[in-house]
C-alpha cells in the first residue's frame, strides 16, 4: 500500500515536471495592434498642422477613418492567414471571432471613409452634401486608382452583406465561403488608391514604405501558410480514407491513412480542415477534430451527421483522396497548468476529449471525463473510453436525460459533490454552445478560475 502511494506520488511528480503551461500570446499581440493603431493616428496628427473649417474637419475625419481602415484591413486578412502562432497558440476559434469582429468594424470604417471624403470633396468644390453622388462619380473618374478602389468597395459591400448573421445562415456554406474569398481581390483593388491619393503617404514617404511592408508581410504569410504549407503537407503525407465506421446512429468515424503522419506534429485536442476528393465534397473543407491520438499510419475523426457535408461522410469509399490543412487549435495539453484535469464533453464534442483522455499525462486519479449525451445509446466511443479509463485509472462519468426526458443537473453543487477538489483542476470542454455556456457558469460557481477553463467554440 505504501509503495503504491509512493509510486503514485512519484508518477505525479513526473507528470508535473512535464506540465509547462504556455501562455497564449493574445495579450502581446493585442498590445502590438493598439500600438500600430496609435502609430497610424500619429501619422495623421503629424501631417496635419491645423484644420481650418468645417470642410477640413470632414475631410480629416475621412482621412482618419481611411488610415485606420487601411491598417485594420491588413490585420483582418492576417487573422485568416492560418499563421501557426495564431491557430495553435491563441486558438483558431478565438482568432475567427476576432476576424469576424474586426472585419465588421473595418468595413464600417471603409464606408464611413468613403462617405466623409466624398462629402468633404463636394464641399471643397463648392457643392453640398446633395451632390455627393456626382462628386463620387467625378472622383472615381478623375483620381488615380479610384476606379479600382470603387470596384473593391463594391466587393466589400457584397462580402459585408453576405456576412450579416441572418443572411449568412440562410446561405449554403460553400456560397458564403466563395464570396468571402473575394476579400483578397477587394483588398488588392483598394490598396493602390491609398498609396497614390493618400495625403499622409504623399507627405511622409517613410509611411509609404511601412504600408508596403505591412501589406507585403501579410501577403507573404497568406501565400506561405494558406497555399504553400498545405501543398507541402499533402504532397508529403498522401492521405486517403481507410474506412468509415458507424459509431452510433448518426455518428461516424473516418479512418485516414497516410505516410509518416506523426511528422505532421498534430496533438490530441487539435483539428484539421478536411477536404474529401469525392463528388460534391471536393470544393469545401470542414474542420473536424481528431478523435484519437495521431498514429504514424492513421488518423481518426469522428463526426455527427448534422449538415450536408457531414451526412455525406457516411458514403465515403475507402481509397478516396483526402486533402487536409492543419493541425490547428490551441486546446491541447500545453494549456494545462495543474496536475488534475477534468474533461467535459457534450455530444459529439467528445472527439477532442477522447484524444486528450488518452494522451494527457497523469497518474491514476488525475483525470476525470464527464460525458453528457441525450441517451446512453448516444454515448459514442463509450467502449473505448471505458477501456482507457480502466487502463489509466481515470474516472469516467456520464450524464444522460432520465427516461422521462428530464435533463441532468450539471450545477456547481453537483460538480463539487462529485469532484470535491474541482477548484484545483484544469477543465477542457467541448460541446454545443448552450451546453458549454451552462457548464462554464457551473464551473465558475464551483470555484474554477476562468483562466483554467479551456474551451473552443466555433459559434460567431
Amino acid at each position: 500500500m505504501t509503495t503504491t502511494l509512493a509510486g503514485g506520488r512519484a508518477a505525479r511528480r513526473q507528470t508535473m515536471r512535464r506540465i509547462r503551461p504556455r501562455r497564449s500570446p493574445a495579450v502581446p499581440l493585442l498590445l502590438a495592434v493598439w500600438a500600430g493603431a496609435a502609430a497610424v493616428l500619429w501619422l495623421w496628427w503629424h501631417n496635419t498642422p491645423s484644420i481650418a473649417d468645417q470642410n477640413g474637419k470632414i475631410l480629416n475625419a475621412g482621412r482618419i477613418t481611411g488610415l485606420l481602415a487601411g491598417y485594420l484591413m491588413a490585420l483582418v486578412v492576417l487573422q485568416m492567414a492560418r499563421v501557426p502562432a495564431l491557430e495553435r497558440r491563441v486558438g483558431s476559434d478565438r482568432v475567427a471571432r476576432w476576424h469576424a469582429m474586426s472585419g465588421r468594424y473595418t468595413l464600417c470604417l471603409v464606408f464611413a471613409h468613403v462617405f466623409l471624403i466624398m462629402w468633404g470633396y463636394a464641399l471643397q468644390a463648392g457643392k453640398t452634401l446633395n451632390d455627393i453622388v456626382q462628386q463620387t462619380i467625378d472622383s472615381v473618374n478623375q483620381l488615380p486608382d479610384m476606379g479600382k478602389a470603387a470596384i473593391g468597395t463594391g466587393l466589400f459591400v457584397v462580402i459585408g452583406l453576405t456576412s450579416i448573421g441572418p443572411v449568412r445562415r440562410r446561405m449554403p456554406y460553400d456560397t458564403w465561403y466563395h464570396v468571402h474569398l473575394l476579400t483578397y481581390a477587394a483588398v488588392f483593388l483598394t490598396f493602390w488608391h491609398q498609396i497614390t491619393t493618400g495625403n499622409d503617404f504623399a507627405l511622409t514617404p517613410m509611411a509609404k514604405t511601412f504600408w508596403y511592408g505591412l501589406y507585403g508581410v501579410v501577403t507573404a504569410l497568406v501565400v506561405w501558410y494558406r497555399i504553400l504549407t498545405p501543398i507541402r503537407l499533402n504532397l508529403r503525407h498522401r492521405m486517403r480514407v481507410e474506412a468509415v465506421i458507424e459509431e452510433t446512429p448518426g455518428i461516424v468515424s473516418v479512418l485516414i491513412g497516410g505516410r509518416k503522419l506523426h511528422r505532421m506534429g498534430a496533438e490530441a485536442g487539435q483539428f484539421f480542415r478536411w477536404r474529401f476528393m469525392a463528388p460534391g465534397m471536393r470544393f469545401s473543407s470542414h474542420p473536424y477534430s481528431l478523435s484519437a491520438a495521431p498514429r504514424p499510419d492513421m488518423l481518426r475523426i469522428t463526426v455527427k451527421a448534422i449538415g450536408d457535408h457531414s451526412a455525406r461522410l457516411r458514403e465515403l469509399r475507402p481509397g478516396t483522396k483526402v486533402w487536409a490543412e492543419g493541425p490547428y487549435g490551441a486546446m491541447t495539453a500545453s494549456r494545462r497548468s495543474r496536475g488534475k484535469v477534468l474533461l467535459v464533453a457534450g455530444g459529439v464534442g467528445i472527439t477532442p476529449m477522447r484524444a486528450l483522455f488518452e494522451t494527457l499525462p497523469g497518474a491514476a486519479g488525475d483525470l476525470t471525463l464527464l460525458y453528457r449525451a441525450n441517451t446512453t445509446q448516444d454515448l459514442a466511443l463509450w467502449d473505448e473510453l471505458a477501456k482507457i479509463a480502466n487502463e489509466r485509472g481515470a474516472r469516467l462519468m456520464y450524464a444522460v436525460n432520465s427516461p422521462e426526458g428530464e435533463r441532468p443537473d450539471i450545477s456547481a453543487e453537483n460538480l463539487q459533490r462529485k469532484i470535491p477538489d474541482i477548484d484545483n483542476h484544469d477543465v477542457f470542454m467541448c460541446g454545443p454552445p448552450g451546453f458549454a455556456q451552462g457548464v462554464y457558469e457551473a464551473l465558475r460557481g464551483a470555484g474554477v478560475p476562468a483562466r483554467r477553463i479551456h474551451h473552443e467554440s466555433f459559434e460567431m
Binding site: 498642422p49 468644390a125 457643392k127 488615380p144 507627405l203
Partner: protein
C-alpha cells in the same frame, strides 16, 4: 466563454470611434499660429519686392539676394537673403507652394527653414519633416542665392550687389500688347504652362501651351483649360477658381499664370 453582448459591443465601438475622431479633430488648432506669421512674412517680402524690383539693392550695408526659383512637385520655392556685414541677417521665402494642403505645409516649414538658415549661415540645414519637397526646393534656392553672393564678392566690390533672381529680371512693361509665357508648373499629371497676352495692363487672352495629356488627363484638360482661360481673362489675375475634378491641373495653371503675370508686371 464570457457572455457576449453584440449590441452593447456595437454601441461601444461606435461611440468610442466617433468620440475618438471628434476628440482628435477638436485638438487640432483651427488655424496654425505659424501661418499668420508666415503670411506676414510673405506680405513684407512682397512689399520689399516692390521697393526693389531688381532684386538686389544695398541699403545701409545690407544686401538682398534672391535665389533661383526652384520647381518642386507642389510649386515654386524662391528664397531671398538679406546679408549684412557678411552674414545672413534674414532669410525669407518670396515664393512657396500654395493651395490645398500646401498652405499648411508652407506655414509649417518656411518659418523654420528661415530660422535654420540664419542659424547655420549656409545651405546645410535640416529638412522639415512632412515638407520634404518644400525643404529640398528651399535648400536649392538658398544655395543658388549663396552662390550669387560668393560670385558678387569674387567679382568684388562695386558696393551694391548686382545679382538678381531669375524670375524678377525679365521684361519691362510696355504699352503695346505683348505675350508672356509663364514658367512650367509641374503637376502630378504633367507640366502646365500658360501664355498670356497683355494689352493695356489687362489680360486679353490666356492659353495653355502645355497641359497634361494621355488617359483621363485628356478629358480633364479639355474640361478645365478653356474654363481656366476664361476665368483668367475675366479676373485679370491669378486668383481664379479651381475647376473641380481637375484640381492639380488648376493649381499648376494658376502657378504658371502667376509667374507669367510676375514677368508681365516686371
Amino acid at each position: 466563454m464570457r457572455k457576449s453582448h453584440p449590441i452593447r459591443r456595437v454601441v461601444l465601438a461606435t461611440a468610442a470611434t466617433v468620440s475618438g475622431v471628434v476628440l482628435l479633430l477638436s485638438l487640432k488648432p483651427s488655424s496654425d499660429p505659424a501661418s499668420a506669421s508666415a503670411a506676414g512674412a510673405a506680405s513684407s517680402a512682397a512689399a520689399a519686392g516692390q521697393e526693389s524690383p531688381q532684386g538686389g539693392t544695398g541699403a545701409a550695408g545690407a544686401t538682398t539676394v534672391d535665389g533661383d526659383a526652384t520647381q518642386t512637385q507642389y510649386g515654386v520655392v524662391q528664397v531671398r537673403l538679406t546679408v549684412a556685414n557678411g552674414k545672413i541677417a534674414q532669410a525669407q521665402a518670396i515664393q512657396a507652394p500654395k493651395g490645398g494642403t500646401s498652405d499648411q505645409k508652407t506655414a509649417l516649414s518656411v518659418p523654420q527653414l528661415n530660422k535654420e538658415t540664419v542659424a547655420a549661415q549656409s545651405a546645410n540645414i535640416d529638412s522639415v519633416s512632412g515638407a520634404t519637397y518644400t525643404s529640398t526646393g528651399y535648400k536649392q534656392s538658398l544655395q543658388s542665392a549663396l552662390d550669387k553672393l560668393k560670385e558678387a564678392a569674387a567679382s568684388s566690390s562695386s558696393g551694391s550687389s548686382s545679382s538678381s533672381g531669375s524670375s524678377s529680371s525679365s521684361g519691362s512693361a510696355q504699352a503695346q500688347a505683348k505675350t508672356v509665357t509663364g514658367q512650367v508648373a509641374q503637376t502630378q499629371y504633367g507640366p502646365v504652362q500658360v501664355r498670356i497676352t497683355v494689352s493695356g495692363g489687362k489680360i486679353t487672352k490666356a492659353e495653355a501651351v502645355q497641359a497634361p495629356s494621355g488617359g483621363t488627363s485628356d478629358q480633364k484638360t479639355a474640361l478645365s483649360v478653356p474654363k481656366l482661360n476664361q476665368e483668367a481673362v475675366a479676373a485679370g489675375n491669378a486668383s481664379i477658381d479651381s475647376v473641380s475634378g481637375a484640381t492639380y491641373t488648376s493649381t499648376g495653371y494658376k502657378q504658371s499664370l502667376q509667374s507669367a503675370l510676375d514677368q508681365a508686371g516686371g
